[in-house]
Amino acid sequence: MDPILFIQFVLTGAFRSATPVLYTTLGQTVNEKTGVANLGAEGCMLMGACVGFIVTAQTGSGWLGALAGALAGGLLSLLHGYLVINCGANQLASGLTLMFLGLGLTALIGRPYVSTQITGFDVVPIPVLSDIPFIGPILFRHDVLTYLAYLLIPAIWFFLYRTRWGLSLRAVGESRIAAFSTGRNPALIAYAAVFFGGLMAGLGGAQLSLAYTHFWVEGMTQGAGFIAVALVIFGMWHPVRAAAGALLYGGAVSLQLQLQTLGVGISPFFLQMLPYVLTLAILLVWARASNRAMPAELGRVFSRQT
């Protein structure tokens, strides 16, 4: 195959495959910046994928499905928020609760829809831009939800670093007591951030079942939620870097798929391993810098005062 075409396919696939993880990792960056880690993002993604699929199947509208999926993820994450913020629970234990809940609930409610067919989101090429040679198909021939995700990257960056609300949010993640002393309510802010994280994970899951594929299957996220959480650390809690990580992940997945179609004699399993190995390698190299970039309150149990 023509090498340029190959690269084009890989890069296009990278952008497409990255979207669910991108949504989730952006959302998780926001809630980790407030000091709450949500290992149950996987559960939120599953809820988004399943509920989104069901709503689309029932209403015929992709947008309603995407909205429903996002809300489902958000609502699930509020349980995590309750345990962590109100009950002072260990964040990892609470996160895994979400994961189990998401797995079980979606298996149950999604069962009747396993072989349902839907028209979700199709690829919508952007006029003119998508005709640019080489870059056009890579960047501008995707579904609407993917475009939305990429618009979110600068929006979230701006929100976190240039607005008053972003300042409050980051302050809660660095020092709850300092935020409290300036009249802010750390618990409320943390709740909002956790909800947003769940919303994004739900949206990412919805993109998976409504755009990237058009079906629902039990457990279809295959650990994407966990990857997204790892990428937050990879990105050192900065939304743009985390997004780059999501893209890298998408690239690895895409590369694996392309090599497979070419019949290249590398076992598909090694290629599937690539994203995880890559993330691990990055973590190894950047471990020390990561520790400094970490929000000071991350993982710390919420106490009665806050």
Partner: protein, 514 residues
């Protein structure tokens, strides 16, 4: 002179404890009003009431003639009250601008960093703070961080500034600077409350002094009428504040030193030179008091001796053994005990009970094997031994440490470390934060330990204490040993100069006299 703040009959109870008992005060406008008292006298409770963290059970507060109801920190701020705490409410990872922005009430949705930066520079120039708004707070020294707190309050429109023990984080020359800032603020119209337990500072900067004891106001005096002895008798009550000299055993002549430190160098946490080829000895049965402003290497010195911090070069011999490369466990086994600076964070396990914490010093013992049981009986006996010998009450054994007050945690750690003999005891600020009675017992316990033949390295910020119980005083400055004096022969002035300047020259003597 008009009253700015009037407190009338403020009372606050916590269960059976009456922290503030019918407190009535008048604070004049544009005064620096000092609030003096021991730990536990009720100062911090009163301040928390003013700051809106606690609500008084009864009593009224009048600010500038109007009754105010301070039900929350926001209300307190809205009333114009600003507080500079001992531990700063700053976010280390944020810049100065971001920290200030966090405290402002009228920041727009999009934060205008440039305007804030401009305002910060304006205030910084006005009061000669010399702060770079773009710096990250973790990079700044504590004195600068304190100034950021002041900027916050000025920008928030506070009119009454309350400083809670502000000099505890400052070097002596910085203390002068702080009092300068007080007078500049005063002339700009601010009223200042200055909480302290240090008499000399209170005498050098305040216009009026109020003394609290046991939750009550003992009295208020104008500066002109106050002397050290009047204040001391107000603080201490009917106890006589005498400076005793202690009986002690003579140090064995010609004994080999227990601790020999030669040309020791080490870096601090920020990779700066903390110890600079420092050398000294300690004999058995001797207390070597380390005098020095906090931050001149005392902390690092102890850490290197303990093995907690690596040394860059030099040698440390303990009872003839070279320990510079030894592990912490090996050093402990060779015979070093340590009363740490922050007992809760460095010497205790919060979730464990008092009893389990008392066993912590057995962990490195060479006698037992790890598959054997811990010796709970020995651990338990440590508390009762200390109570019997020195008369200081210990908390109950089965209470979790995290439920105890700081003072109680200190007692347990102290008792634990002094209950087993050691060749060398490192004692960091052992009487810090303790009330007079407990502090006295700690000093007696240290002397007793010394009399049994241990060498003690005593780090203390209380020069009077060092003069009272140390056999020899060594001054540390910039990580070096800049002078050793016998307390009988030295005077506080000399030591003071060595501490702040690293040298003591005849010219300084002349300046002093004239």
């Amino acid at each position: 002179m008009t009253d700015f703040l009037v407190l009338d009959g403020i009372t606050k109870r916590f269960g059976n404890l009456v922290a503030n008992d019918q407190i009535s005060l008048r604070i004049q406008k544009q005064h620096v009003h000092a609030l003096l008292g021991e730990n536990g006298a009720g100062k911090s409770t009163l301040m928390k009431i003013l700051y809106g963290v606690y609500k008084p059970d009864s009593g009224t507060i009048m600010l500038d003639g109007k009754v105010v109801n301070i039900h929350s920190p926001q209300a307190s701020r809205a009333a114009g009250i600003g507080m500079v705490f001992q531990s700063f409410m700053l976010i280390p990872a944020f810049t100065v601008i971001e920290n200030i922005a966090l405290s402002l009430r009228d920041v727009g949705i999009v934060v205008d960093e440039r305007k804030i930066e401009h305002d910060i520079r304006e205030i910084s120039d006005k009061y000669r703070f010399d702060i770079d708004p773009r710096a990250k707070v973790w990079q700044l020294p504590l004195g600068a961080q304190q100034k950021i707190e002041i900027i916050k309050l000025v920008m928030a429109g506070a009119r009454l500034l309350i400083f809670d023990e502000p000099t505890s984080v400052l070097a002596p020359h910085e203390v002068e600077g702080l009092f300068d800032i007080f007078s500049r603020l005063r002339s700009d119209g601010y009223t200042i409350i200055f909480i302290s337990h240090k008499l000399n500072e209170v005498l050098s900067c305040s216009n009026e002094i109020t003394v609290l004891r046991g939750g009550r106001v003992v009295g208020s005096v104008a500066r002109a009428d106050a002397t050290e002895s009047i204040l001391v008798s107000m603080i201490v009550g009917d106890k006589t504040a005498d400076s005793r000299t202690y009986d002690r055993k003579p140090i064995a002549k010609g004994a080999a030193p227990v601790l020999e430190v030669r040309d020791l160098s080490a870096k601090d946490d920020r990779n700066r030179q903390a110890l600079d080829s420092i050398s000294f000895n300690i004999l058995p049965g001797e207390i070597l008091g380390i005098a020095g402003v906090s931050g001149n290497g005392q902390k690092e010195l102890g850490e290197v001796i303990q093995g907690v911090r690596p040394a860059l070069s030099g040698s440390i011999q303990l009872a003839g053994q070279e320990i510079i490369h030894a592990s912490i466990a090996q050093i402990l086994r060779t015979g070093v005990n340590c009363v740490p600076e922050d007992p809760l964070r460095q010497g205790a396990v919060p979730v464990m009970s008092v009893e389990e914490n008392l066993a912590l010093s057995d962990v490195s013992s060479a006698k037992e094997r790890d598959w054997q049981r811990m010796n709970w009986a020995t651990a338990r006996s440590r508390a009762s031994w200390f109570t019997e010998k020195f008369g200081l009450k210990m908390p109950r054994l089965n209470v979790a440490i995290e439920a105890l007050s700081g003072g109680n945690v200190q007692r347990i750690v102290f008792a634990r470390e002094l209950s087993s003999p050691a060749k060398l005891l490192l004692a960091y600020y052992p009487t810090r934060g303790l009330d007079i009675h407990a502090a006295e017992i700690v000093r007696l316990a240290l002397l007793d330990y010394r009399d049994q033949g241990a060498a003690i390295l005593l780090i203390s910020e209380d020069l009077d204490e060092l003069f009272a119980i140390a056999d020899r005083i060594m001054v540390m400055y910039h990580g070096r040993n800049v002078g050793e004096r016998l307390p009988e022969q030295a005077d506080v002035q000399q030591i003071g100069y060595l501490m702040t300047d690293g040298k003591y020259t005849p010219e300084q003597v002349v300046e002093n006299v004239s």
